[in-house]
Structure formats: structure tokens, C-alpha cells
């Protein structure tokens, strides 16, 4: 076998394997979309198709009648040997014989078939409904506008705090030499491995004593004091920037803040975008923080908490839950695809360099 052919076979094989893994891996998305487009009636019918479908009805002489799949050989005026079936509207139900009309051939008029209507199947036709999304939008606690607003508020305010504080701290670690700096950096990095359980009890009690549980403060304030991941990302990036520009600016009498603002930051947009996107996705998806501090303050619920309470009420209606899940994941997923490049770079820096 020549090399080109084996290469071709290998490529096809590997790509097909990965593709089928991907299809399995992403199948919950398909489940979610399909379920969110189903009607409540379809969910409750045993043996209904897995795609969104409805059983058609037909209006005949001002009356709404059901449609059944009928074997034509049982009907008067059709070929008695064929195996053809047709979807016909029933006008008179009977145990021995029923009367039908053909919606596509009204000229034929009503005709009788030797079938019991109970033995017939009703056909399913593809028919997605958007009604579930409308229903979730209106019935989710506070209404969707409100929880969208809450989530956006939380994401944007904490994003500003995180970006500003982490840039300042990372600049301190990247550009200034002083005794103890490397030790402090190790302390900073080790907080990544610190279990949150060992700080949550006093922290919660503290906010509770201040009477601020149920407000935004416990969730927002800590983000203004930097965190290990983002400081690390910024620092690694700042360290790759040449010092010459800093130094010449220093000669010209620029102070450290001025250098940060006019020399470092203009060169750092990729890492700033990465942190902004990471943070927005984090805040959008954050569940534990808002659950702990906001569960008693319904008016402040973000999407994640509202959705989990919604599940408590509508858990038995999968079409609504899946529509709600879809609405919650849309923004982070879109953001991810838009800012993919920065995302991937950021993850690689934190993960590989550590």
C-alpha cells in the first residue's frame, strides 16, 4: 500500500472516531433543544417520537376532527390488495366501521372503512413549539428581564473590580523587586488549592452580623481584592513585555501608575479580554455564592438561582426546564465562541505554566 492511501485511511478513521465521540458528548444539547420544543401533550404520550411533533387535527365542516393512519385496503373504493396507508380525517367513529374524508382529496367525499378507530394510530408530524420559551420567560421567579438584569449587574460590577485589582497586583508582582515578593507569590498561588469550606463559616457570619446577607455586598466586595488565577494570568503576560519601554518612560519621569496605564496596558489587550470573558462566564454561571447569600432575597436572584428554584416548582415539566436551561446557557456559549482565541490562550497559560 502506498503512503498516501494509508494516510487517507488513518485520517478518515481517526476523524470518524473523534466525530462519533463528539456526537455522544454533545448529545445532551440535542436533548435539550428537542425537549424544549415539545408540547406538554407530547411529553405525556407514551411512544411519542423523540423529535418535537404534534398529532394533526383537521377542521371538517366547522368541526375539529382527529387524523388517523388508515390501511386503504379496508376502505370502500380503494385497491383491496395494496398495503398503502393514508392519513385520513375521521368524521364518524365506529367499532366495526368508521367514516373518513381525505383532506387532500375532498372531492371524493366521505367514505367508509372497515376498521375500528381504536385500533388505528394517529400520525405525528414535525411541529416545534416556541411556547415553552415564552412560558419560562414569563413564569420564572421575578420574570426573565429582572433576573437577566441581576445577573448582568453582578457580572459587570465584579468584572470591573476583578480586572482593576488583579492588574494592580500583577503589576506589583511583575515589575517590582523587593524582599519577600516571591514568598508572597507562592502564598497567592497556594490559595488556589485552599478549600473554601475553611473560610466560609466566619465570612458568612461576618456578613450576617453586618445585616448584609441578602444584599449584593458579600458577593461583590471580595472581587475588588484580586484573586490568584487572574493575577497569575496578568503577571505572566506582563513579564513577557520588554522592560526597555518602562525604563525609558521612567527616565522621562513617569511614575509607576503612569507606566502601567500608558505603556503596559496598551500592550495587554489580549490578556485583558481573556480575563474579562473568563470573569463574565464565571459570574454568569456562579451558583454557590448567590445561593448562599441571596436565597432569601428573591428580588436579587440571578439566572442560576432562579433556574434552580424554578426546577423546584416545574420539575415535572421537562420541556420548561430544558427551555430554561437553554436560556441560561445561551449567553456564555455565544461569548465563548466569539472570544475563543483569548479563552484558549488564557487556559493554557494558567494550566501549563502554573
Amino acid at each position: 500500500m502506498n503512503k498516501k492511501l494509508t494516510d487517507g485511511i488513518n485520517t478518515t478513521f481517526i476523524t470518524l472516531v473523534v466525530l462519533s465521540l463528539l456526537v455522544i458528548f454533545l448529545s445532551p444539547f440535542a436533548f435539550m433543544m428537542v425537549t424544549s420544543l415539545k408540547t406538554r401533550e407530547q411529553i405525556s404520550v407514551v411512544g411519542a417520537p423523540i423529535w418535537p411533533a404534534a398529532q394533526p387535527k383537521y377542521t371538517y365542516q366547522g368541526k375539529e376532527v382527529d387524523v388517523y393512519t388508515v390501511p386503504l385496503k379496508q376502505c370502500a373504493g380503494f385497491d383491496t390488495n395494496g398495503n398503502a396507508t393514508k392519513n385520513l380525517a375521521i368524521t364518524k367513529k365506529g367499532r366495526q366501521e368508521s367514516t373518513f374524508v381525505d383532506p387532500n382529496d375532498l372531492g371524493r367525499g366521505e367514505f367508509v372503512c372497515q376498521v375500528s378507530w381504536r385500533a388505528l394510530d394517529r400520525p405525528w408530524i414535525f411541529s416545534p413549539t416556541w411556547q415553552n420559551y415564552v412560558e419560562v420567560w414569563n413564569t420564572i421567579p421575578n420574570g426573565y428581564w429582572r433576573i437577566l438584569g441581576n445577573t448582568t449587574f453582578y457580572a459587570v460590577v465584579t468584572m470591573i473590580g476583578t480586572v482593576i485589582s488583579c492588574i494592580l497586583v500583577a503589576y506589583g508582582f511583575a515589575r517590582f523587586r523587593f524582599p519577600g515578593r516571591d514568598f508572597l507569590f507562592i502564598v497567592l498561588i497556594s490559595t488556589i488549592f485552599l478549600p473554601g469550606a475553611v473560610t466560609i463559616i466566619p465570612t458568612y457570619s461576618f456578613w450576617q452580623k453586618l445585616g448584609l446577607v441578602g444584599t449584593w455586598y458579600p458577593l461583590i466586595v471580595p472581587h475588588f481584592f484580586a484573586n490568584a488565577y487572574n493575577v497569575f494570568l496578568f503577571r505572566q503576560y506582563f513579564m513577557t513585555l520588554p522592560r526597555e519601554l518602562d525604563e525609558s518612560a521612567m527616565m522621562d519621569g513617569a511614575g509607576p501608575l503612569k507606566i502601567l496605564w500608558s505603556i503596559i496596558l496598551p500592550q495587554s489587550y489580549p490578556v485583558i479580554i481573556a480575563v474579562v470573558v473568563f470573569h463574565i462566564v464565571f459570574a454568569w454561571n456562579d451558583y454557590f455564592g448567590p445561593l448562599v447569600y441571596l436565597s432569601t432575597a428573591k428580588q436579587n436572584w440571578p439566572v442560576s438561582v432562579a433556574l434552580s428554584f424554578y426546577n423546584g416548582i416545574y420539575g415535572s415539566q421537562p420541556q420548561l426546564i430544558q427551555a430554561g436551561a437553554m436560556m441560561a446557557l445561551l449567553l456564555p456559549v455565544i461569548l465563548f465562541f466569539v472570544a475563543q482565541r483569548f479563552f484558549v490562550q488564557g487556559i493554557v497559560v494558567t494550566g501549563v505554566e502554573k
Binding site: 478549600p195 475553611v198 442560576s304 494550566g351
Partner: protein, 339 residues
């Protein structure tokens, strides 16, 4: 000679001035540096160090939220720790793991870890190896799509999987049924003691995108010369993997292992949402951290919760130290080896 000394002496004041100038410079640098670090220094004190110490302090008191904020807590010494040792629900005493009627939450955490940790390392590694395969077309697209579930909000992903794994309407059981599994043998997933851990693992596999990307970057960083050399030596792909690829990416694997273990001991949101934090079915999902969470937030026992928290912290610390101690035997740091 004298002349030399003379010039030196004449130069002295200026060099002293330089030293002094350098001292003021470095003092200034330190001042500036600390000024920039101050947000984190303050945040670390206020939101990490002090709360940690307060947690330790609480664990020696008898403090309950229900007692009201004006009650004066009593110092009880090691009473809470004695309680912890004899608490079957916490179950920190291995001697009682298999005799106690109440399932030990620590044992539950460890049991789950025995399934979840290897999967949490080898599945992303395997996927990264596939992504890195030179025959794969469209690597970039695949990489993004495998990563994507990682950014799905936690609650939404739980609901997606809750639907997928629904014993009656979920797709997984539909597939099993069409493969010939009789209806009465279809798994109940999160509602059955025997399948609840695999259910959590399946939900967890959805979030491996991050680990996969990091491992993939590690794989791509392995110098190709090494592979060429192995080829020349006639090494097969298995030998190449264990002698070149694995050592070269061992720092990344190590980092993920530490993160996964820390995550394991803090595992509680999934059982809280999926099985409503009750430990159902049959107490099998009362993870250690869930028990801690309930002790504090539901039973409002601050002191005992703090005791559980410090014990958790010590366990994680010990494991991390042990891991770092073993690292020198299997983690290869290229930069250190070179210098």
C-alpha cells in the same frame, strides 16, 4: 600606593552616595511594589487568613447561630474534635468504616474519588492525545466543541443531564432499551445506590474541557526532536508514550491531579442539587463537604461546622504535601533538569 588610596578616598563620598541612592531606590521600589500588592494583601488578610484563623478559633467554642448573637460562647477545648472522632456521619475513624450503620461521609468521598479521580485524569488525557493525533482533521473545531460544555452554567448542565438520564424519558435509557436491555433492568441512575456515583461521574466528564485543553497544550509543547530520536531508536508508540510523552507532560498531570483532589474533598454541589442534599439514595450521597455544609447552613452549628472544616483543611493539606513529596519521583521539570 598613596596616590591610589587618595583617589579611592576621593571617590568614596560619591560611591557612598550611589549606595545610598540605590538604597532609597530599592526602598522606593519596595514601597511601590507593596502599594500595588495592597489590594490582594488586604483581601488575603480579610477574606482568607483571618477567616481561616476564626474557623480554627470557632472550633474550640460552642457557638451556634440559634443561640443568638448576644450569647457568650463558651470555650470547650477539644470537645468538638472528640465529637468529630465519634461522629459516625462524619466517619473520620477508618476502624469504624465498615462496622458503623451510618455511612461515613469521609468514606463516601474517598470511594467516589476512587472512581472519579482516574477518570478525571485519563479521559481528558486520552481526548487530548486524540486531538493531538496528526491524522485528525479539523483539530481546532473539535477542540472548541469538546471544551464548550465546560462553560455551560452548572445548574443548566445538571438539568440537561437530569433529562438525559431520566429513567423513563431520558435518551440514555432509550438507547439501552433499544439495545435490548429489558425495561425492568433499565438503570435508575441518580436514584439508585449502585448507579448514583457513575451518574455523577458522567455529569463530571462533561466538564473535562479545561483539563483537556491544558493537557493538549502540554502535549504540543513536547519538542519534536524527542519523538524523532525515539523513532530512530525504533521505539513503538507505547514505549514512546511512557518514556517521552508522559514524563514531558507530567507537570500538567500533577497540577490537574492536585486540583482534582482538592475538588474531590470539596465536592457537594452536585449531590446538593441532584439529590437535594438529603444523602439519598440510602445515604450514599452524603459527601463530607455536604455534611459540613448542612451542619452549618441547615443545623446552624458554627463550631462543629468549623471543626469539620479544619479537619477537611488538614486532610487536604496532608494529601497535597504527600503529593508534592512524591512529585520528585515521577514529575519531570524540564527547566530544572536543564540548568
Amino acid at each position: 600606593m598613596l596616590e591610589q588610596l587618595n583617589t579611592k578616598l576621593r571617590k568614596l563620598p560619591s560611591s557612598l552616595a550611589t549606595v545610598r541612592k540605590m538604597q532609597t531606590l530599592s526602598r522606593k521600589e519596595m514601597k511601590n511594589g507593596l502599594w500595588f500588592l495592597s489590594p490582594w494583601l488586604f483581601g488575603f488578610m480579610a477574606f482568607t487568613l483571618l477567616p481561616m484563623l476564626a474557623t480554627l478559633f470557632f472550633s474550640f467554642l460552642n457557638l451556634r447561630i440559634t443561640d443568638g448573637i448576644f450569647s457568650t460562647p463558651k470555650f470547650v477545648g477539644f470537645d468538638n474534635y472528640a465529637k468529630l472522632l465519634n461522629d459516625p456521619q462524619a466517619g473520620i475513624n477508618p476502624l469504624e468504616w465498615f462496622s458503623s450503620k451510618t455511612p461515613s461521609s469521609l468514606l463516601i468521598t474517598i470511594k467516589f474519588g476512587l472512581i472519579a479521580l482516574p477518570i478525571g485524569i485519563f479521559v481528558p488525557l486520552g481526548l487530548a492525545l486524540l486531538m493531538n493525533n496528526k491524522y485528525l482533521k479539523g483539530q481546532f473545531v473539535f477542540r472548541s466543541l469538546f471544551y464548550m460544555p465546560f462553560i455551560v452554567p452548572f445548574v443548566a448542565s445538571i438539568f440537561l443531564w437530569g433529562g438525559m438520564l431520566n429513567s423513563e424519558t431520558g435518551w440514555i435509557n432509550r438507547v439501552l432499551f433499544s439495545l435490548g436491555v429489558p425495561k425492568e433492568n433499565l438503570p435508575l441512575w441518580a436514584n439508585d445506590v449502585n448507579t448514583v456515583y457513575p451518574t455523577y461521574v458522567i455529569m463530571g466528564i462533561w466538564g473535562i474541557g479545561n483539563a483537556m485543553l491544558v493537557m493538549l497544550a502540554g502535549l504540543q509543547g513536547v519538542p519534536t526532536e524527542l519523538y524523532d530520536a525515539a523513532k530512530v531508536d525504533g521505539a513503538n508508540s507505547w514505549a514512546t508514550f511512557w518514556n517521552i510523552t508522559f514524563p514531558m507532560i507530567s507537570p500538567v498531570i500533577f497540577y490537574n491531579l492536585v486540583l482534582n483532589i482538592v475538588g474531590l474533598f470539596q465536592y457537594f454541589l452536585v449531590p446538593l442539587v441532584v439529590n437535594s442534599g438529603t444523602g439519598s439514595p440510602g445515604g450514599a450521597t452524603m459527601f463530607y463537604n455536604l455534611y459540613l455544609y448542612k451542619t452549618f447552613f441547615t443545623f446552624q452549628n458554627m463550631s462543629y461546622g468549623s471543626t469539620l472544616a479544619w479537619f477537611l483543611f488538614l486532610v487536604i493539606l496532608l494529601i497535597t504535601i504527600l503529593l508534592f513529596a512524591t512529585a520528585k519521583y515521577w514529575v519531570y521539570y524540564a527547566a530544572e533538569a536543564r540548568s
